[in-house]
Symmetry: C2
Subunit: 373 residues, 2 copies
């Protein structure tokens, strides 16, 4: 059911096909985030038109609202949100651990308070898997502990617990139509990362996730961890770098053998009136765009760029029209999906190593190049 076939490689970068019950994923793939069973401000038709093949949804949020039992009763997440293609759910681990003030971790699981109403809840590996089985995503995650990478003592304990929880997650899993990925942890310690990579690889899951990155470490630290981890993972399984997805992170991740990415950045930037462009990040609210007849990115093929001027989008933002968020989400998501499509093409042609510095020059420090019109 969950075959992964590598089609071509350029050094550590690879393109492949991952088969799921809801269709195949061409990897590398960037997954838009639909936290609450909806990619923010977009219909499923609009998401599909972006070329998206995989959508991520969050177990913690759906467990709280509308409830995984309700989603199961209504036929599972694909049917509930009308997304017919593959879905990935996280385990709730990261979300719960970001509730730093209210969570209590013990060997068995985590007790935490809802961000919605303060009510008390408990996740264990078994509970997380049961919730993810109710949701019914194609790719599900082992329950893990994502700890502060700067607390070296604790990160080792958390990693070891994550390994025990990965075994319990695997044991709890019942559905054959879901691929459970173990999660490599270990903070920014190369030795711990190596131990974790080897342990998670030994579990023989259909894919492997790398967690605990993009949580405050430097880019160099992230790259160093990937340089330790991916060489220790089996070639024939897809690797998912959780929650990572600036343009430069995607380029650098693929170069280090990553196959799956997800990130809230494109839709979050959209809500903050910011647009990806090779020039830099466009602050679309700025008065400098008021009479700008150009597209956000003249080279982009998204609906927004094929249709609207910067001037119109700037007007929508100033006038507080919701359409602004929709149009910017379309563009920002398409920018990352197109980047990944381009890279797939380069890997197929064997030109990724040549193209990589060109792509990096275009996208590196994109966040620091503010364009105000």
């Amino acid at each position: 059911m969950f075959d992964f076939t590598i089609i071509a490689k350029n050094n550590r970068a690879r393109i492949g096909i991952f088969t799921t019950p809801h269709g195949t994923l061409q990897t590398p793939v960037f997954a838009p985030v639909g936290t609450q069973a909806a990619v923010k401000a977009l219909t499923p038709v609009q998401v599909a038109e972006l070329g998206a093949s995989l959508v991520l949804s969050n177990t913690y949020h759906l467990y709280l609202r509308p409830g995984d039992d309700l989603v199961a009763e209504l036929g599972g997440l694909h049917r509930f949100m009308r997304w017919p293609r593959p879905i990935l759910t996280d385990s709730g681990g990261f979300q719960v651990f970001s509730l730093a003030q209210t969570r209590v971790v013990d060997e068995d699981g985590v007790t935490f308070k809802s961000h919605i109403d303060g009510s008390t809840h408990r996740f264990t590996p078994e509970r997380s898997i049961r919730i993810q089985e109710n949701l019914g995503a194609d790719i599900i995650m082992a329950f893990d502990e994502c700890a502060d990478p700067n607390d070296h003592e604790y990160i080792k304990l958390a990693m070891e617990r994550t390994h025990r929880w990965a075994e319990r997650s695997l044991k709890a899993k019942r559905r054959a139509d879901q691929a459970l990925f173990g999660i490599v942890q270990g903070g920014i310690d190369p030795d711990l990362r190596a131990v974790s990579a080897e342990f998670i690889a030994s579990l023989d899951t259909p894919g492997i996730a790398i967690g605990g990155l993009s949580v405050g470490e430097t880019k160099d630290e992230m790259h160093a961890m990937l340089d330790v981890v991916t060489p220790l993972l089996p070639e024939d399984k897809p690797r998912y770098l959780m929650g990572v997805g600036t343009p430069e992170d995607i380029i650098n991740g693929i170069a280090r053998g990553i196959d799956i990415f997800d990130c809230v950045l494109p839709t979050r930037l959209a809500r903050h009136h910011s647009a990806f462009s090779p020039e830099g990040r466009l602050n679309m609210m700025n008065a400098g765009f008021a009479r700008d007849e150009r597209r956000i990115d003249e080279s982009c093929d998204c609906y927004t760029c094929k249709t609207f001027t910067r001037a119109y989008i700037r007007h929508l933002i100033v006038a507080k029209e919701l359409l602004a968020g929709t149009l910017l989400s379309i563009h920002n998501l398409r920018a990352l999906i197109r980047l990944v499509e381009d890279i797939r093409g380069y890997i197929a042609d064997g030109t990724f190593e040549e193209q990589r510095p060109i792509l990096l020059e275009r996208w590196e420090n994109n966040a620091k190049r503010k364009v105000n019109g």
Copy 2:
């Protein structure tokens, strides 16, 4: 350029074709409102998919933001908002008069304060026409004074001024590719309405608008005014009932010879989580819909009803997902556009008089039939 051909009549109800520079309108027609050059929460593609042929935009709002000069510089409203089909702009009269606290009317025009920043502005008939020429809609309105229908003394003065302003609007008009409609006023006084209908009809504009209704009077009063006005208007010109558009108002308006409607109700209801349905108005936030697998309206052919359950839409509302507003706007707008399409079919078949009581039974007092799931 602005031919109006009547295709069929059932008593006073008629179907026709109105030709504009951006295509023909099949009348009766319901126009979604895009106040600020955008139908709230919808892309132009989504608006077109609803079967919308005409969109209304507001002169007052666009004059203030982004400015009619900017819209003109960027090629006019059709190009600015990427709506290739006909557009209608109002004159700003109604909006200005709803700023009751800050406006001062004199014979020449109105001075008012912006609702955005409190700055002082002035509209005259000539200024309103110049702004509407900058915007470039296919159908534009004479500048009028919409007064409190219960102030009988004043309503006569306002009507007479509206007539003088209609003449000045006509004289100010320069573009041949815009149809200027005069506006019938006169409050809820049948004698004044008759005077106004005859005067406006005498101006020989390509169409005639009826203003000052749906501003607090009863349904019976509205019908009485239409019964006075439409028989006095020329048969061969389209009649636009400004700002009116509940389902029952549309049915009753068409029966009294109205051809064009617009109303913010469908999109406003959507933002308040309310959906049109023949059962009544569905309060989609209600917990009763949490596990309801039915569509909002099982008979509706819109994207929302073809795709999503009430349970999912209720979840989106509770989770504060913007997609809820988009999906409800699609449904509510399609409900009215489909009602008008159905009525066009009945008039073509000669069955409107038979169908009218059935339609009224379905839609009358729809607002009072609250459905909580």
